[in-house]
Symmetry: C2
Subunit: 342 residues, 2 copies
Amino acid sequence: MQLDERKMKILQAIIRTYMETGEPVGSRTISKYSDLNLSSATIRNEMSDLEEMGYIIQPHTSAGRIPSDKGYRLYVDTMMLEKDREVAEMKELMLEKTEKMEKILMQVAKLLANNTNYAAMISSPQIRKNRLKFIQLSQVDTLHILAVIVCEGNIVKNKVIETEDELDNEDILKLNILLNTNLNGLAMEEINLATIARLKEQAGIHSQLLNDVMDAVAEAIVGDEDLEIYTSGATNIFKYPELSDSSKAKEILATFEEKQQLVELVNSTMEQNSETGIQVYIGEETPIQTMKDCSVVTATYELEEGVQGTIGIIGPKRMDYEKVVANLKTLMNKLDDVFKKK
Amino acid sequence: MQLDERKMKILQAIIRTYMETGEPVGSRTISKYSDLNLSSATIRNEMSDLEEMGYIIQPHTSAGRIPSDKGYRLYVDTMMLEKDREVAEMKELMLEKTEKMEKILMQVAKLLANNTNYAAMISSPQIRKNRLKFIQLSQVDTLHILAVIVCEGNIVKNKVIETEDELDNEDILKLNILLNTNLNGLAMEEINLATIARLKEQAGIHSQLLNDVMDAVAEAIVGDEDLEIYTSGATNIFKYPELSDSSKAKEILATFEEKQQLVELVNSTMEQNSETGIQVYIGEETPIQTMKDCSVVTATYELEEGVQGTIGIIGPKRMDYEKVVANLKTLMNKLDDVFKKK
DNA sequence: ATTAGCACTCAACCTATCAGAGTGCTAATA
DNA sequence: TATTAGCACTCTGATAGGTTGAGTGCTAAT
């Protein structure tokens, strides 16, 4: 069977109506409130076809139809792409001051949740291919050394290291010079065993300390650990009856609380970089199993080359995809402004 | 009217039973399942008295009784205190490595939530009366200075400062010495205008930079900003029908998501330091308005003199108070072990 | 002071009924 | 041949009535 223009229009009308109401939509509704000028009987025939083709589903005999995952998918793929070719002129931002950053990210999540009435999440930007800018060791007291590591993009990490043998200022100065001359500008994959061995040799007796420092450096550069995720509006799911029965709601909210699973969402989003940066997962397509009754829209934002994070919207399958995508786009621009202003 | 021994026992039985079942409890139940050997009629008379005195409530005629806030309060005050005099031998812990810290705190929250089946929260330790240990400025690039501030207890903060005029290494060295000789060992309240004025004078042209640094220092010492709160098991509230109707659940969960209100809970807990460190808020007593249908049990933990945080359990009013308090106590000991081991 | 007994109340549950929305099918129509 | 009108049928959801069981308050007997 062919999915001709008319069927397409009817499908579209069904999805639109269903989004508004959340109720199964019947033939008569479409017949009356669309500009197709067809009788409900005709619509019924077409709907019957659409159902056979798998685009819509009847929850039970004598109920209206609701879109299937396949139907939503079609909707998103086609209806969306029309609007979408107005490409992305993207950001070029500064990031420093992680504390402020946190606040902005939380603000963004909140704003998004309020605007869309869905649940929102945003991940802190991740640095890919990060390079070391400089290292600074300083003595805190006789037994503790503070290592401050600054990477490209002014990402700062610190680590307090407990030392076994006491060090004097001179030792530390030497180590500082040693580390900086040997490691500056290197990315993680370039710091290999040979480099480290050479360092150790030159460091002499302080090789234990050096080990700890290297650990800290590795962590700072790879930096997978401190992927922070901020969420907002998780309770918005109560606005959608199809999600708010207690067991479903519980699962979804627990996922939001246990941010671990959201991290996976972020990772899977990062891997597939689509052209527009926006991805839509419908129902079972989602990488998070517990969200199989929802749809998830994610976008990747980029502050500067190689520094990027993920924004996501989680809502019911009858989510207003156009609105969400529009929101995500304008939001990215706003984000841009905020960072540029500083 | 007097609250004699027997009334007390009946009240206790009512509360215990209500905790288990969550249903209003009737006279017959008490008559059968308590060791009082009284007929239901007698119980009914006593219950009538108890209701008049305000310890129990009848949701509607011909339903059983449930404990009122006042009843719970009595229960907690008396029943609890018996068990409670086995004081608190407390902690003496190290803290460094805030990242590890985070993980431990999250773990604790999780454990507590799992153990009790209520919602749990824990705040990161706050430092009261903090003193500056040392400051280190270093040049990141021509326009950025990194200020690293270490406080007593090895709390590290850093701030990247944008400079207007270019600085050379010598300038920075001077500033470093200046700051350290003048500020070391001082607490916030000791850094007054006079000190700052003197510093500015000596800093000469770099007074703008000095301003920024002082801001950073102030923030590091006061450090009210980075009160982190970790939660777990928020969705446990669905286990209690009296809380899980959608509007109430929504409110409570939103409070958990918006950690702001929990901060207030932490603050109010910190202010009133009871002897045992454990406080119980029942119903309307709670500092968080949205939790008026719940009970909140908070405890203050202390890592070392002046470094303390808050743990809290949020559950239904029919929470098993004894269990919760016991849990909090053993948990504190566990926390102790964890930190001591390191 | 305690208890047994009785009448009464109320929420919860079950059942039946009914209206409304929706469908599928068939026959009439353009 | 495509569309439409009409009709019988199905299913959900709301409403109303009836029943049950748990619980109470009161009174009279112990």
